[in-house]
């Protein structure tokens, strides 16, 4: 099972990497939406976890672009965000986000949320 993690914060990427590899996932990392998008062009992944606020290409645009490529219409995308204002989360869902994870995340919860959206 491969997870693409997209976040401009190295701290968050490192924590995701640690939690996910411990749970047996293979983890790919991208520091912004554009890098993530490029990576999706080359790599097959089972689920994507993406931040919203990022330089170059933010999470909303990233999700839109992923959905716009025919290949990834049924790829689960989880929005990782501290935004509890509902705003960003709704924007992310409208763009095609499958679900969301609120930072700071608890490792067990993170895994259970992923299990909610992947086979």
């Amino acid at each position: 099972m491969r997870v693409l993690t997209v976040d401009d914060s190295r701290t968050i990427l490192a924590m995701l990497h640690h939690t996910l590899t411990n749970a047996g996932f293979e983890v790919l990392q991208a520091e912004n939406g554009q890098v993530g998008l490029d990576m999706l062009g080359r790599e097959d992944v089972d689920v994507v976890i993406t931040d919203i606020n990022m330089p170059v290409m933010d999470g909303i645009e990233f999700i839109k672009q992923v959905r716009a490529t025919g290949k990834h219409q049924s790829l689960p995308i989880l929005i990782l965000t501290t935004e509890t204002s509902q705003d960003k989360r709704d924007q992310g869902r409208a763009a095609g986000g499958t679900g969301w994870i609120v930072k700071p995340f608890d490792p067990e919860k993170l895994i259970s949320v992923i299990n909610k959206v992947v086979h």
Partner: protein, 748 residues
């Protein structure tokens, strides 16, 4: 927990970079550049600091950053004007965030009220824009503080039964109607996964309600051709837990949840607007099969029955999301339960994980240092090889010689490449200066602008680490002593705001760092007066302007008539000189009366490899850093004199220099004739000189410095060791400590 420590280290690293970015962006914003990307960047930086801080429970930091971020969000949206006051507040707050981060790093506690004034200002500004709204102060924080528990959010209607907990003993039967909308599939949600999760709550029966399939040509992969009725028998489900299962598809489907207790069902219908059509559809469904799914994942394989049912209408090419995913359930056994996840892909769990596609990797500095050291050794071995090739060898072994020449080139290339790995932009040191200058300006009531140039110039990391203190001192000196008060500046016809310019550039094998100010310049009369008072300069000694200027680096020299809180503290610019010398650099000052002062630091590109003179004392090799050597003289030509105390002095161009015989100093005996020995005239701190007597001078070369303290113990008079090309160990003479040692001895 070491993992946590590691994450924290990453976080603090990242914070340093983000704070730097904040400084830079706000400097540009203050200059009038209001590009929206700048505002986005500062927002992201604060947001990231807050996000990471939350993960580690740095509450004070998170709360402050949150208020900061909220304001920035309003500014970004144009709801709060980015006035000069707001910018000043933000810049001050960067320092506060830096202090919070610093305190979190060291584990120190900051005063509970730290940053409270600024936080209140943020909150007031934010409130001002959202008048009447709930206090921005507390509300979002409560949200932010919640521990992550997936809760059903944004319920259209409050569930009347929500508070009715199911009977803890005894089963409750639920019927759930689930009708997806196309958006559910567009967002890659999958009914099967929802069933799987729902099935974990108890025993479940799922009945599809099929709509007639269109012709293949009309088939919409994201169309809705199926709805489901679910019966769940559970001892632990509640309306809330069921809602929670459908959390991610809230708004993307119609759900009804009914609870049946005993024989009297209590029905709750939600979102039922869309139901009638599907109820009709259900009747139209010609084939209807039931399958049972319990919490056991394997049973989900029964979903294959459903897919078989749909087989004849399944579009081959389109891979329609809903059908495709359902059909896939059959060949994917045991994927449902969490506990099976780890066994699902054991080969992927290779602990290293592969962070594919990162533009950079992070490596322990130790590892890089090891490579740098070994490359240093390689360079030296290679140069030894080259040196040993005499004409006879060149004639005889041409191929070998060519090989060694290629090796020389490659080794140099390797050295450059390795040094580049450890090189860092001076930005990391420069970035601390704006805050310093701001604080200083506010303490002294001066107006000072700091300009930085060439901050991307790269220097070896080890040099950078040593650079911070001296540079801080120099910038303080320029701002504190150089720049005049605004009134004085105006009266002299200068702009009210003084400028301190900090620049870095590479010049050959050196880095030049220049601190320049447009202040009053050095008061030479006063400097000379003090220098004479303190005996730094003889009463009748004539000095050029330049020599006088450089007196400010003389030990113990300070021109500030009153000890300033900022640059004073009894330590003068002599500390700068000694620090810079320690890293093999030099410092020079020039001043123009009434116009300003320029201090130039010249630094080596790296500290790993040292240019030295190889000498011999009592049969053992020693090396003396080339940077401290002024000249060498044959003993027979040297002009020695004797002091009444018995000490030996060397007279050079009218100056008397103390003589230290290294053989005597290191308690060895030499049989070398006195006349055939050499004097190496060295310069120590503050232009003071010392003459070292050695047996022989062998030549110049580069060596890799090895610490003596790490490998053996500290020896007075020795700065370290090095391994020569022939495998012998040579000790590096510590000119500075020999000088102060003799001063001490003669004084005693």
């Amino acid at each position: 927990m070491s993992d946590l420590d590691e994450f924290k280290a990453t976080y603090f690293d990242e914070c340093s970079e983000l704070l730097l970015e904040l400084e830079e962006q706000f400097s540009a914003i203050q200059e009038g550049d209001r590009d929206s990307e700048r505002l986005n960047a500062v927002f992201r930086a604060i947001h990231s600091i807050k996000g990471g801080g939350g993960a580690f429970g740095f509450d004070g930091l998170v709360k402050f950053a949150h208020s900061f971020e909220t304001l920035l969000d309003y500014v970004r949206d144009g709801k709060v004007e980015l006035s000069e006051d707001v910018i000043v507040l933000c810049i001050r707050s960067i320092d506060i965030v830096a202090d919070f981060v610093g305190a979190a790093r060291t584990g120190d506690a900051l005063a509970a009220s730290y940053g409270a004034v600024e936080k209140a200002q943020f909150d007031a500004l934010a409130r001002g824009q959202s008048a009447g709204a709930a206090s921005t102060d507390d509300e979002p924080m409560d949200d932010f503080d919640i521990d992550f528990t997936p809760v059903a959010v944004n319920l259209e209607r409050e569930l009347p039964m929500a508070s009715t907990a199911p009977a803890t003993d005894g089963m409750t039967r639920w019927t759930i109607g689930f009708t997806p909308f196309p958006t559910l599939y567009e967002r890659a949600n999958d009914p099967l996964l929802l069933f799987r999760e729902l099935g974990m709550l108890g025993t479940m029966t799922v009945t599809p309600r099929l709509k007639p399939m269109p012709k293949l040509a009309d088939f919409d992969p994201f169309g809705v051709y199926c709805a489901w009725d679910i019966e769940l028998v559970s001892d632990r489900a509640s309306a809330d837990t069921i809602r929670e299962v459908f959390e991610f598809v809230d708004g993307d489907c119609a759900i009804t949840i009914e609870m049946h207790e005993g024989s009297a069902p209590a029905a709750i219908a939600l979102d039922d607007d869309d139901l009638p059509s599907f109820a009709a559809l259900a009747e139209m469904a010609k084939a209807e099969r039931k399958f049972i799914a319990t919490g056991d994942a394997d049973d989900m394989g029964a979903g294959a029955d459903l897919s078989a049912l749909l087989d004849d209408t399944k579009a081959e090419a389109a891979a329609p999301a809903p059908l495709h995913l359902v059909a896939e359930a059959a060949p994917a056994p045991a994927t449902a339960a969490n506990r099976d996840r780890s066994t699902d892909a054991p080969e992927d769990s290779a602990s290293s994980g592969r962070p594919v596609g990162m533009q950079s990797i992070r490596v322990d500095l130790d590892k890089v240092d090891r490579v740098v050291n070994m490359v240093g050794e390689l360079v030296i071995t290679q140069s030894m090889l080259t040196q040993q090739m005499d004409d006879a060898i060149r004639d005889r072994y041409q191929e070998l010689v060519r090989g060694i020449e290629v090796l020389a080139q490659t080794t140099r290339g390797l050295q450059d490449a390795v040094m580049a790995i450890r090189a860092q932009p001076v930005k990391s040191v420069f970035s601390r200066m704006p805050r310093l200058v701001r604080e200083l300006a506010s303490k002294t009531g001066k107006k000072i602008k700091l300009e930085t140039i060439g901050e991307n110039t790269e220097i070896d990391k080890t040099v950078i680490e040593q650079l911070s203190d001296p540079l801080t001192h120099m910038v303080r000196n320029s701002a504190d002593h150089g720049i005049e008060s605004p009134e004085k500046r105006v009266s002299r016809g200068k702009p009210e705001v003084g400028t301190v310019r900090l620049s870095a550039e590479q010049a050959g094998g050196n880095i030049l760092i220049i601190v320049e100010d447009d202040g009053g310049g050095i008061n030479r009369d006063r400097v000379l007066e003090i220098a004479r008072e303190r005996g730094v300069v003889g009463p009748d000694q004539q000095m050029t302007d330049e020599q006088i200027d450089n007196l400010i680096f003389a030990p113990g020299f300070s021109t500030a008539s009153e000890v300033s809180d900022i640059s004073g503290r009894g330590v003068g610019m002599d500390v700068v000189l000694s620090n810079i010398k320690k890293i093999g650099g030099s410092v020079h000052v020039r001043s123009w009366t009434g116009k300003g002062t320029r201090m130039t630091l010249r630094l080596p590109l790296t500290l790993a490899v040292l240019d030295v003179m190889l000498v011999k004392v009592a049969g053992s090799p020693y090396v003396i850093p080339l940077s401290s050597i002024v000249e060498t003289i044959q003993n027979s030509r040297a002009d020695f004199g004797h002091m009444p105390s018995g000490g030996k002095v060397l007279q050079v161009r009218g100056e008397y220099v103390q003589v230290v015989d290294l053989a005597t100093r290191f308690e060895m005996t030499t049989d070398q004739a006195e006349d055939s020995r050499f004097v190496v005239l060295c310069e120590a701190e503050g232009n003071s000189k010392i003459a070292l007597v050695v047996d022989d001078i062998i030549g110049q070369q580069q060596v890799v410095i090895k610490s003596l303290e790490e490998n053996f113990e500290r020896i007075d008079g020795i700065a370290g060791g090095t391994i020569l090309g022939d495998g012998n160990v040579a000790l590096i003479v510590d000119v500075q400590s020999l000088k102060s040692g003799t001063a001490h001895q003669t004084a005693a």
